[in-house]
Symmetry: D2
Subunit: 336 residues, 4 copies
């Protein structure tokens, strides 16, 4: 279905935040009661990059980190996973890396996005985007968070234009984070403009509603998907929380994806694990149905762990988990 270029140096370049999570070493705990915290690489596209690399994809990254011990930790973590580091920049300005504190209060995961609106990742500049780097990859994933303000927003649109020029598969992972945006219309406008470039759009029902809010009201999944099929999109994934997710192909196929059995200790990290497994599988030439199975099992493994990035697994582990999940649950994905 997808036209994905072959013979390139990299399989995928996620774009956006590479940052640090400070989580209780043992989850679930509140910030107040926890006395031992761990440090973890975080940021939705960073987790996706780690997930892709562990599964075996030749993975790059475009983002900006600080020139301090926290930035060094991120850089070294990526290095250990074999991620190509040529698209990672260091902020010259005196800004912090984005730090997120996670806690669980009464069963609810509470993310404290610890930063002002200006963190190193939001200072990625369009001048730093190298056309050759984009042209060296088969695909690119834009995280919606990177669209929240300029110059990072500008850099993303430069990447999207260059990705289009060089024929990359373009994935838009909406990844909405409320505190970094100014207004609902702004969200709707820039999500919509990024989504126009995308062959694959992944988001929750709420995220698609947000994307449409300035232009279209009260659509159902089918309407949403069909509208995007008039643009460049060929596959739309719409998540419905605990009820699983739906996938729509331009060719008419529809899939209902159940959530794999899981003992969750927090609600975060599942989305990134889902995206990384799904994109890896697509790039491997697997059937869409199988890609979706891989994605949902990957998500279930991630939410059972204390951190997002440390929880991401290699291909044999994921495939084994998929077999086991099907044994316990039956078919995870229904096509109709």
């Amino acid at each position: 279905m997808f036209q994905i270029p072959e013979g390139r140096k990299l399989d995928c370049i996620p774009v956006g935040r590479l940052a640090i999570d400070i989580n209780p070493l043992v989850m679930p705990q509140t910030f107040a009661e926890c006395t031992e915290f761990g440090k973890y690489v975080g940021g939705s596209p960073a987790n996706t990059a780690v997930g892709l690399a562990r599964l075996g994809a030749r993975t790059g990254f475009i983002g900006k980190i600080t020139d301090d011990s926290l930035g060094d930790f991120c850089y070294d973590y990526f290095k250990k996973d074999g991620i190509d580091l040529n698209g990672i920049f260091r902020a010259e300005e005196n800004v912090p890396l984005a730090v997120t504190f996670t806690e669980v209060i009464d069963g609810q995961t509470n993310l404290m996005l610890y930063r002002d609106r200006i963190t190193a990742d939001m200072l990625l500049k369009p001048e730093e985007i190298d056309e050759d780097y984009i042209a060296s990859s088969r695909s690119v994933i834009i995280s919606g968070t990177a669209l929240a303000s300029s110059p990072s927003r500008d850099a993303c649109f430069k990447i999207l234009e260059l990705a289009r020029k060089h024929g990359l598969l373009i994935i838009f992972d909406v990844d909405y984070r409320a505190p970094i945006w100014q207004s609902t219309d702004e969200i709707s406008i820039y999500y919509t403009m990024a989504a126009r470039y995308a062959h694959i759009i992944i988001g929750s029902r709420e995220e698609f509603d947000l994307m449409d809010s300035a232009f279209y009201k009260e659509e159902d999944d089918e309407q949403t998907a069909n509208r995007w099929f008039n643009e460049k999109a060929e596959l739309i994934i719409i998540k419905h929380g605990k009820e699983g997710s739906m996938a729509y192909e331009k060719n008419g196929k529809r899939y209902q994806i159940d959530i794999a059995p899981v003992n969750a200790v927090k609600s975060t990290g599942g989305g990134d694990a889902y995206s990384s497994a799904f994109v890896f599988s697509i790039l491997s030439g697997r059937e869409v149905k199988n890609c979706l199975e891989m994605a949902t099992v990957s998500a279930s493994l991630a939410v059972a762990c204390n951190s997002c990035s440390d929880a991401l697994v290699d291909l044999p582990t994921l495939e084994k988990a998929l077999v086991k999940a099907k044994e316990e649950h039956g078919e995870l994905v229904k096509e109709f």
Copy 2:
């Protein structure tokens, strides 16, 4: 050629800056030597709106002005010309209206854009854009200046999306003003994204080069035009200063437009007069060649006057001037 909706309340809505020029009452003079200054409505899309209205188009406007005597003057000036005022907002913030001082030094026009980067026009918010107002018009003109920063930039993209949704003819008038932009890549990115929506793009060769700079290098007019014909564009006008301009139609027709005979007292205002006469003529259903004749004669009338807005004429005057210009100059537009 163009699919322009009929049966709407307005013919055209220019979008962007509505501001004030302080010019010497008698041009040419330097600021230092001038002792008597006049006040004039200015701002490229504002001049275009005035031009359209005087020629007989039912004209609206979307922009933001200050809530003081300078804003009142702009508002009343538009009212006198019969421009629909429902899309004009007042800034609640304590910001100035954009004021431009014009002088001529040694034959060169010097514009002093008198403002910080944040003026009332740049504070137009996407929340203020009303879908019904967009839907009530046959066409919309986006001025590139309004793209220079958020929230005005965001409002423009909302307008472009809504204009596309409701089938308006979309004109993008590049109108580059250097001091309000941050970087060349930023210009290139947002010009490109706006131009993707446009059926007609009007700019100088330098402006098209700027638009391409992050993505394409050293194109000639023919290459530029053909690339945009792969998008939504159907007509591209590229200006070459004193050597006139070139127009390219998607259907293959090409036109060379000479500058009509003129005694210029300044170099500004010609572009707005050109755009207003051209768009008016297109909306009237005239042949492209005739539209281009009207445009170039309108420009020549404008640069012969002390102000931009006061110089704009009605249809009989423009048509008479066109007849006279052809008598003096011969054919103004050559098709080939």
Copy 3:
């Protein structure tokens, strides 16, 4: 009374805004009805500098202007009046000079401060303040407007510290302009801190109330004056609009100053003329009573003119006007 150093190169250095007023050539008029405008040097401390120079004081200035034709006009205007230009800097940033449009509506003067909060004058940096320049003057006048935001605020406090170190007579001219301040407490705090350095404080009753607002409530003139006499102040002038002004000396003398007969065409410019004549007279060693006479007559001449700066006169003209005013009005200043 005052300890004023002798044998210095300059008599006085006013500090703060040097800018441009755009006024109707003939006052009174509204902006809407006026078709011929003039350009004038403006800014309260700039007017005071011009007034001082015309009366014969060796006058310097510390301030920042733009590097364009408007800045050049200010610079050349000062040069023509023989003002020392070594303390005048040019903004490197892309900011406008402060421009003020004046109009008269129904007898009320309406100042439109045409600028964002950041104009060239507010970008004066403490690093630009030269200790030797301060040390070369007998006195300094701080205009309260220059305290409204950093870095100009910081530069003023550096000047005040250095003026104290080198024994200059320090005059604080409150000159409140509402739109450039953020909060009443901020005004009160920084006015108070500047006033602590001053030997002479000049303000309206409203301005003294504003200065006190975070710390003291409902004082009368006598209480206000006595409180400042516990600091460095030796003379306090409190203006009461149309009812004239009061002067309080630390030694116990009090003066009531009437307004000299005048045909005012606007309400602005009087304060600057007042300050310049008063400070000139103090520096000349005149009796306080005579200083106050000179000041009130100077103010009456200024409000009768279309501009603030062009209206300022030389010493023989001012002395002649004082004689004439006394003939018409009787004693202008009563001591008690």
Copy 4:
């Protein structure tokens, strides 16, 4: 010596940052190698408040924290130590609490001030300062960090004015943190203006040099102290790193203070412990010499602990440590 008011509800109100430190549970470690981190209340004036309270002073605080779990932790920590919470505000804006990561690299303590320049503490507004709260205390401590930007800077000067009005003992603890300041002149200006109000000034030799830099060059301790004795100061403490510190009284007495024996695991926290013990002792009416002994022993206890705030002790513990330190070291303070 000092005139300290009696009969007030509180002994002391420190002013400034109340924040969080994320330190390795076991010091010394680098960020990279550490896998278990602890959370601690931090911020120099916050540590001083905790130290004062533990020693038995009736302690208040003025500062601003976030309205999230991190802010709650600070609030509850203070509450447990019996600190009066009426001067603690919550930021309404979407800003982070200041978070500091501490690590030790090759024996050097590396503080990563994890924040943009705008953190909750810097948003304390002058409008929030209550005159009655200031008037209810015997003394106030201004931390220099709170002067780094408006509106916190403005709030500090309001506090200083009110403290002066109500006769509080005013202590200025310089506490220089480089990354939050814009320029050296700015530091020098606002340190100087705050120091003018102070009866006691505590800083390192480098901090006093920084304070003087815009106005005075190359002073020795004696010159510095004497210059401040011309203002309100009565006692000046100048620290010389590993060589201990010097104290100067206006009455002519001088003290050399040695560093008490210590096994330091980091270099931070000593200053706050020093200030809290010194101010507590002064407020208790102890001899200056004894106050200085208490201070230096308190500092040595603090640098031997993993955190700053958890290390602060009660009075019996401190007095016992003083006895022990004198046994090991001999006299800690020499008067001459």
